[in-house]
Symmetry: C2
Subunit: 359 residues, 2 copies
């Protein structure tokens, strides 16, 4: 087992990573002395793991389980409202604790419900996808989608603890495991070249759910993200670097209706576009771009998505919530292992999109 501490002013918390942790959930929740416990999960993860989570928590407080309809399409304000109603039905109070058991959607929706129930109750994340273990369970971002875009309604709310059981990844479809690897690659690319190279070497073991490789990668990714979040909790500066590949990725998701590509797949392709853009700005060598494209492919991710509209992509990126008054800022690479924020000239962006197969 590995433990990573996220050092936030006033409310540090631990991420516990390893095999078999789901059955030990009670150890991590007991110190919170909850008055009531609600396990929020979804219709996919609930049948697999909710009974074990409940058994691990039995005796600490009255426990209830609530299942959200799974998937990104159900991630809206009404889903958060349904979690709130489940808390009311349980007679939850300010000392109650919400346990978010599932992937990023469950964590985002349930975390948001915890953020606004009685102006904020405590919650514990139990991420069951690689993407959630390395990314969405670290940093305190919670929220739901709006027809205008993803995560446009939400709150910053830090969990009390994160419990990442690597065994739960064994039931994850291969495609979703690969989607999580996009974020693992991203963390190396933006902050740690040696970690990027290690990940590239470990890709076969990671894709085969090797426990040691997974635990090491999740821990290092969480360390990188946690360090950045600790320095910039409210995303005023450095935290934006974590959006490497995401401005492109969000546009891919928006242009394909959020159902064709997984978030991690869109980010994988977005990393390649960000690398190409970095080269056109004179920052990155062509060899590094090729190395990134090969790594994305080796992770089982698309490094190129053909046929999307260039104009629609630019329009979508302008509407992204990181845009300020219409100007698009990108995260680009100075080299593998170092990212910076940059406002990009239109012709370089257009050239990257054209070379990337956009029409």
């Amino acid at each position: 087992m590995r433990r990573v501490t996220v050092e936030l002013a006033g409310h540090p918390y631990d991420i516990h990573i390893g095999a078999g942790l789901l059955d030990r959930l009670g150890e991590f929740v007991r110190p919170l002395r909850p008055s009531r416990l609600l396990i929020a999960t979804d219709t996919r993860v609930g049948p697999l793991y909710a009974a074990r989570a409940r058994a691990a928590l039995e005796g600490l407080a009255p426990v209830a389980v609530f299942e959200l309809a799974g998937g990104e399409t159900g991630k809206d304000l009404h889903a958060a409202e349904a979690v709130l109603e489940a808390l009311f039905a349980l007679n939850a109070d300010r000392k109650s604790v919400l346990v978010a058991l599932g992937g990023g959607v469950v964590g985002d929706v349930a975390g948001f419900a915890a953020a606004i129930f009685m102006r904020g109750i405590r919650f514990v994340q139990v991420p069951t996808t690689l993407l959630a273990q390395v990314d969405s369970s670290v940093g305190g971002k919670t929220g739901v989608n709006h027809p205008r875009g993803k995560n446009l309604i939400g709150a910053f709310h830090q969990p009390q603890a994160v419990v990442a059981d690597t065994d739960t990844l064994r039931t994850l479809p291969a495609r979703e495991l690969s989607a999580g690897l996009a974020e693992v690659l991203k963390h190396g690319l933006l902050a740690d070249a040696a970690y990027f190279e290690q990940t590239v070497r470990d890709l076969p073991r990671l894709r085969a759910c090797d426990e040691q490789a997974l635990t090491a990668a999740i821990a290092r990714s969480c360390e990188i993200k946690a360090a950045i979040v600790a320095r910039d909790e409210r995303e005023s500066g450095e935290r934006a670097l974590l959006n490497l590949g995401h401005t492109f990725g969000h546009a891919i998701e928006a242009l394909t209706g959020f159902d064709r590509w997984l978030h991690g797949e869109a980010v994988g392709c977005g990393l390649c576009l960000a690398a190409d853009l970095s080269r056109r700005l004179g920052l990155l060598e062509a060899a590094a771009v090729a190395r990134i494209e090969a790594a994305v492919a080796a992770a089982g991710l698309p490094n190129r998505i053909e046929g999307l509209s260039r104009a629609a992509a630019v329009e979508s990126m302008r509407g992204d919530k990181k845009a300020e008054a219409g100007e698009i800022r990108f995260i680009v690479l100075e080299r593998i292992g170092r990212a910076i924020q940059r406002t990009v000239p239109s012709d370089a962006l257009q050239a990257t999109l054209a070379a990337g197969g956009y029409r």
Copy 2:
């Protein structure tokens, strides 16, 4: 004009108090360099003041006005959602600023929308009722009601500034002015005996909208509340003292369907019940209880509400969100000018309710 600074770690802000400030709103909003401005108001205050607020902001950024259906009954999650939709319609982004123009309901709903729009945008409070000027615009509590109770869904979100124009109180019904005086009396009772005595002397001038008396009272009330909030932003301890009279008051509102008595009226009566309870606990002299009851009456507030159900009141107070695992804690007075938190024996509570006219 008076200015009170609320000293919060990381985000201090000023409360500006005086006559004629609505037309000077631009001075306080300009430093925020907003990309867009949404004035959220309601159907009662909008027709009176929205045009002047808009005129004062013109030229700083594109401005839109959105009117909520007024009143506590419309203070629900859907009202907050309507404000979010108005922000989306305006193409608001993270640099946009929401201006909450109105009473406590507008401030609570609009402040909550600002808290969750793109995980939090800046907002400025322009309270137009005495209650909002002395109470709900200070402290960062935002939220909406749920069928289970008041303010059960919400967030802590501090404004960038509060602009309290005493002139707007001239259009306030006398009954609502009195409701605001309940909080003014409360602040003296819990923290400053001399201020309580001054308020009692000033009641005729305050009820006649004398500008100097109002500015002085609003400033002192804001100072008292701001000092407490600054020491306890998340309501873990001392801030609970501000609930003096409120546990009783909330139960009165709940038992009468939230439409018979104004919040301030219920609090006025709640102050008398809290005083009686304090006497039964051996803390407060009978003469002080009588003095408090006389002051509440002189403010134009009910110091006694007959005929409510004792059992239902206790049940309602148990369900209040300050209750922890069913135990009721009350704020009681050691003397005029000093409040403490106390778990109360059932027989003292029952005696207070019986003496207060409960059945």
